[in-house]
Symmetry: C2
Subunit: 167 residues, 2 copies
DNA sequence: TATTGTTATACTCTATAACTATA
DNA sequence: TATAGTTATAGAGTATAACAATA
């Protein structure tokens, strides 16, 4: 940050998309290391985050939609996570077509661990911001991302009607 | 945006990487439309942005490094932009290995046009933020992205010594 | 010896299409 | 008819390796 002698401000980053891409690239570089224990890397991590812990439903389609990835890719990701013993496929009692993706105990433990490492990566990525600015950035990022949810309506809303408190 | 009845806050986005990915995905969706006239799409746009307008030097390697893409990909991108008449490859007088990527008049005009359309896309992507928050977000995004510049040192710094005012 | 740029090749990732089962 | 999930195949995108020219 402090203007070092060798780098007079070389027009830095003046483009929104470039800044966004640069930030994501740096995040993914760190995330790949943090998630190297997980099959699927950062993607596998996000699937694990969005998997059900028992209180909410998470079909493969729901997760795929939420993450913006194809259903066919979800099959492979869940396959690998299941082989690693981190998640389980459970038939949805309300819809026999669907499979809920539920974290195992090992999955919960692994998620806790990787989550901590991801948090460390985030700190590094946002390292050039002050503590206050970093908080503000996270808040604005989430607010901006929520703008147009990938899923027009959550599958939970559709299914959850006759299953009070969760699906 | 406004809380519609059918969508009670479905735990929204609680993950940094997920929010970042979601935002980039929405941006790229719009950017693909905005840059459909350009060979290479959003990537081609960024190359065009980073190409030289005469005042600064821009080797292919410099641009590639700045954008975080491979040199081999740069060749194809510049090939296509050159075929479209938007940029020119010019031998660098200071380094006969290097080729400067310089925008043509048509390239400048196209860039102006696409830049305007990109700005519109950004407004849509940040549409859920207030005007003040959008400004703040852009500022923080750039500040965060500049944190660790992809290029440790710009090639311009190395070459520019004996060419006062530009390379 | 290292770097710029090019080309060809191989690989990874992702999407497409077709199918079954269920709604 | 539409959707969830799986599988196989094809495609886009990307990286790897080798090369020539120059530093």
């Amino acid at each position: 940050m402090s203007e070092t002698a060798g780098e007079r401000a070389t027009e830095t980053v003046d483009d929104f998309g470039q800044a966004l891409g640069s930030l994501l690239r740096r995040y993914l570089d760190g995330a790949r290391d943090a998630a190297d224990a997980l099959p699927g890397g950062p993607r596998g991590f996000q699937v694990l985050v969005n998997a059900s812990s028992g209180t909410d439903c998470s079909n493969q389609a729901t997760i795929a939609h939420r993450l913006g990835i194809d259903r066919t890719v979800m099959t492979y990701l869940v396959d690998d996570l299941e082989k690693a013993g981190l998640v389980e496929r459970r038939p949805d009692p309300a819809d026999r077509r669907a499979r809920q993706v539920v974290r195992t105990a090992a999955g919960e433990a692994t998620l806790d661990d990787v989550r901590r490492r991801m948090a460390a990566v985030e700190d590094v990525v946002l390292g050039s911001l002050s503590a206050d600015d970093a908080v503000a950035f996270r808040r604005l990022l989430v607010a901006a991302a929520v703008g147009a949810p990938p899923t027009g309506h959550s599958m939970c809303d559709v299914v959850g009607d006759d299953l009070a408190g969760g699906c």
